[in-house]
Subunit: 279 residues, 2 copies
């Protein structure tokens, strides 16, 4: 596993660095000028950039080579993910003061500016795709991020559809909250690389299994802190720790099987890395 | 003026009714199901629908006839305007309990859901344009709504760039906060109607003057309630009531002059109606 991880990071590091440079150039000429630093704040958290790496991995898996074609989609995915964290962290939502050891946007710049920063990140994602000129990408991202996707999952997670007490509903919640954006990431990467319909279908299948495996692994990792009646609904609570582990391994295997006919080492590496988090 | 107003409303009423029917069909199949009513709440406020009427007016002014071509843009403008109101009304922003005599979204559904409703309305605007298949419209809307447009204006309005104490800065604030979306409305309508570059330039000039006139008239209307040191910055405070009235009339005249070579009665009617609000 360590060799595999090493080769994943050898692939990921230069792409992450190039992506970060592009993200740091956003909002550079804001008016009023202080908004540049406000909007940059949540983008500089040193994240793994997993979603944009999935975009790039899918792009390369279908034969894409000129990375200029894939940056708008890769950046858009990270912007949408980051906006959702900025809004999620606000006092009226999860009320988190820190993320990865750094103060969240509303702690540094106040609630009103954090709200507007989130709005600006979301809008900027669509500006990049509009500027890239591919309306299909806009449609895919809006579907994945909207009320049929991530926002619907957040509404459900906050109890907007009542308490979540069964595995089927929790699965649907996470398929929307997390899975749809994973799915969107590989589909936008595939579109950027002029993929065939069959390649898009293969990558979609991969992402759906990977997305589920990601959430299962997350619940295993969080099993201790979320224990008890008061914590959020989780697969560990509803299925037990062993069954959640077993399902995470199974979904990862399905994800890797989906990729078997494709030259997609980095995507396979990301799925394997996810599972390794809990070993 | 009353005859002109009557003919404007004869044009506007059936279009507003058709638009409202389409807006009410949005979010119909949300999951979880209660989100449908939450997202519909701010769309059912009985507004004038001025921005979508500007989209349609521009579409028809450049020769567009099949309204099916213009609904996505018209709806998108109203969705972006409405999302900005939902977020603006939240306690961390302007903290308004009512809008047009009805309780605001966060009063009815709580702050967390209001935040997500705003996010969903913004995302839905881009979904409609992506589905329509015109990436240029996506780019125009994202530029107008983002940090170079509406959001930048809101940041400035909330003091994110320091206190606003001169006419030039206040003009720029409103050009971003309100004007860019007016400008975008006519430009999207023009794009939907396959306008020439010259027609787009004419309509843009109209919208820039109309947007300024709109804000000047608004400040005249609000002159009483916003009086005193504590109120928001306004043109009336910086230029006096008479000069603000004079500028509103002047900007309206410039807007109408821009349209003089075009068959655009409804757009002219909207600009005249705006000025009549303060007479």
């Amino acid at each position: 596993m360590s060799l595999q991880m090493g080769s994943l990071e050898a692939w990921a590091a230069p792409r992450r660095e190039a992506l970060n440079a592009r993200l740091e150039a956003l909002f550079a000429d804001a008016w009023p000028a202080p908004f540049t630093a406000m909007a940059q704040h949540p983008l500089r958290t040193g994240g793994k950039r997993m979603r944009p790496l999935m975009v790039i991995g899918a792009f390369e898996a279908v034969g894409g080579t000129d990375l200029e074609q894939v940056w708008p989609a890769a950046m858009a995915l990270e912007l949408v993910h980051t906006y959702s964290l900025v809004h999620d962290d606000m006092p009226c939502m999860d009320d988190d003061d820190e993320r990865r050891g750094k103060p969240t946007t509303h702690i540094v710049h106040g609630d009103a500016m954090a709200l507007l920063v989130g709005d600006a990140l979301l809008t900027e994602a669509f500006r990049l795709l509009g500027d890239h000129g591919d309306a299909r990408m806009v449609l895919e991202l809006a579907q994945a991020a909207g009320y049929h996707g991530m926002i619907g999952g957040q509404v459900s997670d906050l109890g907007g559809g009542g308490p979540v007490t069964d595995v089927e509903t929790l699965t649907r919640l996470h398929a929307n909250k997390t899975g749809k954006l994973f799915r969107c990431a590989v589909r936008l990467g595939a579109l950027a690389g002029d993929a065939s319909n069959s390649q898009i279908a293969t990558l979609t299948r991969f992402a759906e299994h990977f997305g589920f495996a990601f959430q299962l692994a997350d619940d295993v990792l969080d099993a201790d802190e979320d224990a008890g009646e008061d914590g959020p609904p989780s697969f560990v609570k509803l299925m037990g720790l062993d069954e959640t582990r077993r399902r995470a391994a199974l979904e990862t295997k399905e994800a890797l099987t989906a990729l078997s006919g494709m030259n997609a080492e980095p995507l396979a590496g990301l799925a394997s890395y996810n599972l390794s988090r809990k070993l």
